[in-house]
Amino acid sequence: MARIGVFVCHCGENISSTVDCAKVAEIASNYPGVVYSIDYKYMCSDPGQNLIKEAIQKHKLTGVVVAACSPRMHEPTFRKATAEAGINPYLCEMANLREHCSWVHFREDSTTEKAAELVRVLVEKVKHNEELYPIKVPITKTALVIGGGIGGIQAALDIANSGHKVIMVEKNPSIGGKMAQLSETFPTLDCSQCILTPRMVEVAQHPNITLYTYAEVESVDGFIGNFKVTIRQKAKSVDHKACTGCGLCIEKCPIKKIPDEFNAGLGNRAAIYVPFPQAVPNKPVIDRNNCTYFLKGKCGLCNKVCPADAIHYEQEDEFIKVDVGAIVAATGFDIKHSDFLPEYGYGKYPDVIDGLQFERLASASGPTLGVLKRPSDGKEPESVVFIACAGSRDPAKGIPYCSKICCMYTAKHAMLFKHKNHHGNATVFYMDIRAGGKMYDEFVRRAIEEDDVNYIRGRVSRIYEKNGKLIVCGVDTLLNSRSVEIEADLVVLATAAVANSDSEELAQKLHISYDQYHFFSEAHPKLRPVETNTAGIMLAGACQAPKDIPDTVSQASGTAAKVVALFSQDELTREPLIAYVNNNTCVGCFLCQSVCPYLAIEKEEIRRRDGTLVKTVAKINPGLCQGCGTCVALCRSKSIDIHGYTNRQIYAEVSALFNRREYAGV
């Protein structure tokens, strides 16, 4: 038999001014199952809590209803008190007499009546409350960071510096990411490599960081604190332990005309290569798609010249299994290329380039050693047109969003050009200038005012080539919408920033959601911007949405803080208010699987003792379930239920509401 205690709080006068608390306590004492009922001025005060504790012990209560304020306010307080009295804290429920009753109604009979009914509803609920125990999930205190760009590097270093192990996986032969390709960075115009490379080296040398370059995540299983990840280490064909990085193989490689990815296709590299001089690790890999040995079975020059015997053609992809407790996705972004824009010639004009190509042309370590030479004939341009929003904010091109970084880097590009050619003409076509950020607008103003960059507000309709010049046709919306034509030697398109082409595949491996543009989705746009919906998987950088370096680094540090906070405990304690399955009645239709936002519903095989399969049923992974209960309402056979809001509890609440129903014979 249930033995319920009811404790009605006056909340000073907050409740008692409109609700007759004594009367509520008296009415409640007549409810079936209620053995003790009392009202008190401040239930949350020490004497109030003692009142509850004493009553629990004296009356051997099996359930407690505290009729006071909102449970969102004091539920933890009273559950703690209940636990201190020696019964399970989840046997305590609260009736919300303050926010939902006394504060919103006047003093009248119906207010007290409502209060008494609210108590009755909770009394009926608490009769069905079960003893629950917090869920403890062990935590593997190693983080996996996917992506070795500035976001991944920052997150990895922050986590590693707080004493936890980090595994970093980078798909390219070197870490560094997009930032390594940049010449200078806004708004300070400091050299990108200068600030990045020390960080790259730090990653490589950090005792807590294990680095896998030229590697990708193959599969991810498990859940927060307990992920099991398989990493595919792509065959480098070079034994990096033996390799001294002398570079002889690169020098001798006969295949030297492969468009260089690092230089955005503006330079060439060999088939065995290190992406750039400051690469980490600074040891080569063989690009098997272009290597004569792999294509035709002969050559082997690199092997012959290698003094360290480090060339291993027979190397195969290796699968490395690691256990990690948290995963940081920092896979970055990509940009659209100039061939994406038909009106600018479908990439047909070599002197219409994208922003990243301009970075390489402007970079001291780039293919032109920092001298601005246009790709077609190597001439130094006198007139350069920069087009912002090349594809971005254009629903017709499927990219309605703002790429966010272009306004700033376009201003930077124009300045870099003007700094190299003081007499040159720099023109920027723009839609709006979005330069929100510390020192950002000042930077743009500097480009306009000090460096005399010609900013034209309007879009470019076409570019065509005539007599060796690029004719840029556009409109100046500020000058009476006059159409303008500018002759340019070089056109730089700030093409749209987009998600990586394989981001969807990775999201599916990680079981995280992604938006319609294939950027990864954060758990909450405002309040949980660095976490994903899948507990234990966080985001850093532009894989979530286009971001500049400061934003990426801040988010990476934020993510690292989340990881470190998770790792600060040995076990993850979670509220046990999660769903569970009744194996006896589940028929395994698995229609519930797609309803779960957290992919917490798995398959479980029920077998007899002799091992024969009886059936396959749903199983809720307690590490993943967040307790929304959507599966509970969906399940046709009521085989799923949820602790804290069980079918029996809620049904009892609803049944206790009014009690007006007449029965035939009555």
């Binding site: 006896n584 009645t585 028929v587 395994g588 239709c589 698995f590 229609l591 519930c592 699987q593 797609s594 309803v595 396959t616 969906l634 046709r636 056979s637 009521k638 085989s639 079918n647 029996r648 049904y651 009892a652 049944s655």
Partner: protein
């Protein structure tokens, strides 16, 4: 027909199947379900558009477990039911050899993927008479509709023949049998009956393949098929998901679109 019979005989002979579920001539000339375990019984096999019973309903019978592979002569509803059952993990591809006959031609499906293709190409339009009946009911004033259904549903004796005849009502524990809490009143009072038929309709919404077996099985002649039909039409027009056409789960009530349209939320 003889082509089909010969084919099945061969499958029996090669021991590819050891049970064939089809139809025999029934009492009023319609097809009644029949189970053939020996090739010589097959001379009684019939198949035409009067064979309306959805044979997929039998696949959950434990009595069939002892047969290693089963052949099924499927009408369109049965084909769709098989797809839906597969999408709900209730049958395994390859367990069954499935046949149908269209315009005298025998179609043989060795796997469910083939059924998926066939079904998606041959989806029939909703029966215009039923649609008209539905429209007629819907055009009544609200109170009349309520009275009409209350009266129709009061006939229900809660025999659950509708459930038994439905190939997709395969739960081991039906919601009405769940008594902690008792979601649906068991006695056939007005409330119990309404609750039962709401539950049945909602449970089949987005899953019903429209074979009409529930209504055909109702001994009290209650037009319960209208309820599931209406919800199916709602789901198809609002969400575009047609039950029993896909091997992969495509359940309207466990999926959503951010821009799903409604006009009643304040």
């Amino acid at each position: 027909m003889s082509e089909l019979i010969n084919k099945i005989r061969q499958f029996f002979a090669s021991q590819t199947i050891d049970l064939f579920i089809g139809y025999k001539k029934g009492r009023f000339g319609e097809g009644k379900p029949a189970f053939f375990t020996k090739p010589e019984q097959l001379k009684e096999l019939v198949f035409d558009d009067k064979c309306i019973v959805n044979l997929a309903v039998y696949l959950r019978k434990p009595e069939l477990k002892k047969f290693s592979k089963i052949g099924i002569l499927a009408n369109f509803g049965t084909l769709r039911a098989l797809l839906q059952l597969a999408a709900e993990n209730q049958i395994v591809d390859g367990q069954y050899l499935i046949f149908t006959v269209v315009d005298g031609k025998v179609l043989e499906f060795t796997n469910l993927k083939a059924i998926e293709e066939y079904v998606s190409k041959n989806l029939p339009k909703p029966n215009p008479e039923r649609v008209a009946l539905l429209k007629e009911i819907e055009s009544k004033p609200r109170e009349e509709r309520w009275d009409w259904w209350t009266r129709e549903l009061s006939s229900c004796i809660r025999c659950y023949a509708c459930r038994a005849a439905c190939p997709l009502c395969y739960c081991e524990q039906c919601l009405v049998e769940c008594n902690q809490p008792q979601w649906v009143e068991v006695p056939p009072t007005g409330i119990g009956n309404l609750e039962w038929h709401i539950v049945r309709a909602m449970h089949l919404a987005g899953r019903c393949i429209g074979c009409g077996e529930c209504e055909a099985a109702c001994p009290m002649e209650i037009p319960i098929g209208l309820l599931t039909q209406k919800l199916n039409m709602t789901i198809i027009s609002n969400f575009g998901q047609i039950p029993g056409t896909k091997l992969e789960p495509n359940y309207a009530l466990s999926t959503f679109k951010v821009d799903d349209k409604e006009n009643f939320i304040r």
